[in-house]
């Protein structure tokens, strides 16, 4: 029997946003110890790169898993319009009570994109900087913890 070969499409997007890593359940001293300079009271920001991987059969008419214009529009509506040039702590409702680490961003983005109608969402990968990246494939169902 021949192996089944999967095909997936990856697309990168960019957003710039600010955040502060601070957990209200910890003392100020503990927050400083855990989060270091990311605990700066006035926040800081990053140019994030978000990589979205979707899979599915290749449509013989278009040669595509999903039309890029559809994926771009969905990502813009579900994520970028809410994330880009915002403060996660102040402007994005889910992060009012959740520390906006990039791990949590990946999980939130996965939730926002998993209903993409034209293909199956496989994985979300976010680069906070060129040296730090995080991935989430949705296998854990537990809720984000603050």
């Amino acid at each position: 029997m021949r192996d089944e070969i999967k095909i997936a499409m990856g697309r990168r997007y960019r957003f710039a946003a600010s955040h502060r890593l601070h957990n209200a359940k910890l003392s100020d001293a503990q927050n400083r110890e855990v989060y270091g300079k990311c605990n700066n009271p006035h926040g800081h920001g990053h140019n994030y790169v978000m990589e979205v991987l979707v899979s599915g059969p290749v449509d013989p008419v278009t040669g595509m898993i999903a039309n890029l214009a559809d994926l771009d529009a969905f990502v813009e509506k579900q994520v970028l319009s809410d994330y880009d040039h915002k403060s996660f702590n102040e402007d994005v409702a889910v992060f009012r009570n959740t520390v906006p680490t990039t791990e949590h961003l990946c999980m939130d983005i996965f939730q926002r994109l998993k209903a993409f109608p034209q293909a199956k969402l496989e994985r979300v990968r976010v680069e906070e900087t060129g040296n730090n990246s995080f991935e989430y494939a949705g296998e854990h169902t537990e809720e984000m913890k603050s």
């Binding site: 192996d3 095909i7 278009t62 214009a69």
Partner: protein, 149 residues
């Protein structure tokens, strides 16, 4: 198991146009990729092979063999070519990243000398790529494409 990845780059032109669709439908579906005279990309191809290091050489496979295979099967076939008219394996298909990655998988998979082809990743630009890889477990739950399409 160890994964080994080799990267190559090639430049090629293509056009997205399905003869079974009207010119208006082609423009609507493919947008600027339907431009009548085509356009081109610098493609980056990452080939990942999985295997155990040979106890004598310490290698999963000899990189020179992989380099020669990629030169013969991919560079000579696709570099500085028009993918629509010069690559027989793509005849009758829209030369999207997905379809090119599948063709590359089928060309290389039977010819990997040692180890096993694990993943083909083809970048059309820094922001768009297709991955072709072996499904982890045959549980039938995920949509998949047959390699023989």
């Amino acid at each position: 198991m160890v994964l080994l990845t080799r990267k190559i780059e090639f430049s090629a032109s293509h056009r997205y146009d399905n003869p079974n669709l009207s010119p208006e439908e082609n423009r609507r579906v493919f947008g600027k990729c339907n431009n009548a005279h085509g356009h081109g990309h610098n493609y980056t191809l990452e080939i990942t092979v999985a295997g155990e290091p040979n106890p004598v050489t310490g290698m999963v496979l000899d990189l020179k063999d992989l380099k020669d295979l990629l030169e013969r099967e991919i560079m000579q076939r696709m570099d500085h070519r028009n993918l629509n008219v010069e690559v027989p394996e793509l005849a009758g298909k829209i030369p999207t990243c997905e379809n090119i990655a599948l063709v590359i998988w089928n060309l290389l998979e039977p010819k990997i000398p040692t180890g096993r082809l694990h993943r083909v990743r083809l970048y059309e630009s820094a922001d768009l790529f297709a991955d072709c890889y072996r499904a982890a477990a045959s549980n039938g739950s995920a949509p998949a494409a047959k390699a023989g399409n």
